[in-house]
């Protein structure tokens, strides 16, 4: 843990500076969602991103996740400036740097749990190697799904689906995992389960996490809390160690 923190402190993973984002540019419905936002996240951090609906959380996450471009500003991820990259380069960067856990419809319904987890490997190499299969099994085992590997998402509960998504996000050990309300549609028990899984991955692998959540209870169990209000950072503080250790067994 100490070693991970030391490494995390040494370098910056995400550097956003003065980022603006508008939608429907040039139309009467044009609206700016992010107004000159700056944010830095270091390697190994476990960040909660909170804020009311419409505050720009998802937009920010999409920009950080290279799923959307920004209107103005600068963004460096893992040392690479994003602004000048074309779609292919962005895709490759996303592939190698990021894992995603979405709130809804996070899995490919046509594929089994195991196939969903090996999909990133298939995308990269056109086939699933034995090591990737091993790794996928290992991860599914780690999230407690060894018995459900060959089931389709529709046959799994919400919590189980979300755990498959976590396994998938981690299969290539990306330095950063972005989670958009990963427990948003789960009951309290499943929600706890999933969150503990994320914490465990953070602890064991040193993966950085940015988690968008509405749930203040969950946010309180992260290491750092960033609150967005009206497209601006309203609060950015470390959660007291007492709270964290209480919530994180």
């Amino acid at each position: 843990m100490a070693a991970v923190n030391a490494r995390a402190a040494s370098s910056e993973l995400i550097e956003l500076a003065d980022v603006h984002k508008s939608y429907n540019i040039g139309l009467p419905t044009e609206a700016e969602v992010l107004h000159g936002l700056s944010l830095t996240i270091k390697k190994g951090e476990f960040v909660a991103l909170i804020g009311p609906s419409g505050s720009g959380k998802s937009t920010l996450l999409n920009i950080v996740g290279l799923l959307e471009g920004m209107t103005a500003g600068s963004y460096r991820i893992n040392g690479t400036a994003v602004a000048s990259l074309d779609d292919r380069a962005l895709t490759l960067l996303r592939r190698d740097t990021l894992g995603f856990v979405f709130q809804f419809h996070h899995l490919l319904p046509a594929f089994t749990a195991l196939e969903n987890v090996t999909m990133p490997g298939l995308i990269r190499e056109g086939r699933v190697s034995r090591q990737q299969l091993e790794r996928a099994r290992e991860l599914l085992d780690a999230v407690g799904l060894s018995g459900a590997m060959n089931k389709r998402p529709s046959e799994l509960s919400g919590g189980m689906q979300q755990r498959v998504a976590i396994a998938r996000a981690l299969v290539f050990d990306p330095p950063l995992v972005l989670a958009d309300e990963p427990t948003g549609n789960l009951d309290t028990a499943s929600s706890d389960e999933v969150f503990q899984e994320l914490r465990r991955m953070h602890r064991e692998r040193g993966t950085s996490f940015v988690i968008v959540t509405h749930d203040p209870r969950l946010a309180a169990r992260c290491d750092r809390l960033v609150e967005l209000v009206d497209g601006k950072i309203a609060r950015d503080e470390l959660v007291s160690k007492v709270t964290v250790s209480g919530a994180d067994p």
Binding site: D87, T91, L92, P109, A110, M119, G126, R127
Partner: protein
């Protein structure tokens, strides 16, 4: 990072998407199969039909004939420039004339590239008489071996053995029944003031009733004496290695020799235009069916792209490039085209089988042979598969152009 397995990802996802589409996939594949079946069947049918018509009509004909130029009236004197000459000329009656120097022409023509066989013929009109019965006939004097190479006479023999020793003849089956002749019987051929007795060696079926009623084939010498052309030949009949080159071959030969040269296309202009009309209509039908197939595949894939937006978004978020997403849909189009064509070819074979089995002529025989040549089948399958891929281009581009964030959000 190199793509170790070509299209591995694309194929896996494409197959899974298609399998997930179930009814949609089945319907479009059946649609493609129907289209392919129509194309394959109609191609096979028209090929069979044309071959049949062709064989029946051209089987007894030379591809190119060389004859003496027609007699023309030479004007008494050339009109003086600047004057108008009013005159009427009566066309000359055409007498039977020999091709000048045909013996020396024979090897010359045989050496020409593209010429398969040359046969000298003495042809003219006459009467076939036996007892009370008289029939007007067309007498052809030939060298049997040469003639056989041009029109494959031996294949058309239905009774007796084709042989042309002096005093022997081969006749059409209708003429035989009109005169009550069987192989071995004798009859008299009459022309002008010459008459000769001919012994029948074989009966032939030339495929056309009128030809069967009028054909009398005798040795060259016999015809020469019957028609008053000692040592002559009224025409040289040519068979070519490529039937369709006859027209150009005739044009070249017209330039090279002072003879009247005609190709089968010129003597059968109507047949040629009928065959052309058939080919054009078939081509049109095939093109239209193909367009319908392409539109069908495209529309199903467009719907599929909309349905799979979220999956496309997820795959893109996981690192699939735009190119990979394009290829996923192109592969789907290709698979639909390929599977559809395999089904369609099976269906076409069934249709051909039914046609040959149940559609019969008045005589209870199959009308003509239709087969689906492997080359045609492969060609149709390939065109259908390529069309499948082409049909997928627009939907695929649409899939790739989708912003992953938007696709996921929906």
């Amino acid at each position: 990072m190199a793509t170790a397995f070509w299209l591995g990802f694309e194929t896996r996802v494409a197959v899974r998407f298609l399998r997930e589409g179930r009814l949609q996939t089945v319907l479009i594949m059946v649609g493609v199969a129907a289209g392919v079946a129509v194309i394959a069947y109609i191609s096979a049918l028209v090929t069979g039909l044309q071959k049949n018509t062709f064989d029946k009509t051209l089987g007894g004909q030379a591809h190119v004939t060389v004859q003496a130029l027609e007699d023309v009236v030479t004007p008494a004197r050339a009109p003086v420039a600047g004057t108008v000459l009013l005159s009427e000329t009566q066309a000359k009656a055409q007498r039977l004339r020999s091709v000048a120097n045909w013996q020396s022409m024979l090897p010359l023509l045989e050496r020409r590239p593209g010429v398969a066989a040359v046969s000298p013929i003495v042809a003219g009109g006459g009467l076939a008489v036996r007892g009370e019965a008289t029939q007007s006939v067309a007498v052809s004097g030939v060298d049997l071996d040469r003639y056989d190479r041009v029109v494959r006479l031996r294949e058309k023999v239905v009774a007796g053995v084709a042989r042309l020793e002096p005093g022997e003849g081969i006749i059409g089956i209708e003429l035989a029944s009109d005169l009550g002749l069987r192989p071995g019987d004798r009859f008299t051929v009459l022309t002008g003031n010459v008459s000769e007795t001919v012994r029948v060696t074989a009966l032939v079926d030339l495929g056309v009733r009128e030809l069967n009623r009028r054909t009398v084939i005798v040795p060259l010498r016999l015809a020469q004496s019957l028609l008053g052309l000692p040592g002559g030949a009224t025409s040289l009949d040519l068979a070519l290695t490529d039937v369709w080159s006859a027209k150009t071959m005739a044009q070249q030969m017209r330039r090279d020799f002072p003879y009247k040269v005609e190709s089968w296309q010129e003597t059968n202009a109507q047949l040629v235009s009928a065959l052309n009309a058939q080919s054009v209509s078939t081509g049109l039908i095939r093109a239209i069916v193909l367009v319908v197939v392409v539109l069908g595949i495209a529309s199903v894939l467009v719907v599929s792209v909309v349905q799979k937006r979220r999956e496309i978004g997820i795959l893109r978020a996981m690192g699939a490039t735009r190119g990979q997403m394009v290829r996923v849909f192109l592969v789907q189009g290709g698979i639909v085209g390929a599977v559809g064509s395999v089904l369609g070819l099976a269906l076409a074979l069934l249709m051909i089988f039914l046609f040959t089995k149940f559609v019969r002529g008045a005589d209870g025989q199959a009308l003509f042979v239709i087969t689906l040549p492997l080359s045609l089948a492969l060609q149709v399958a390939m065109v259908a598969s390529i069309c499948g891929v082409l049909a997928a281009i627009a939907p695929a581009r649409r899939a790739a152009s989708m912003d992953p964030a938007q696709a996921i959000r929906i």
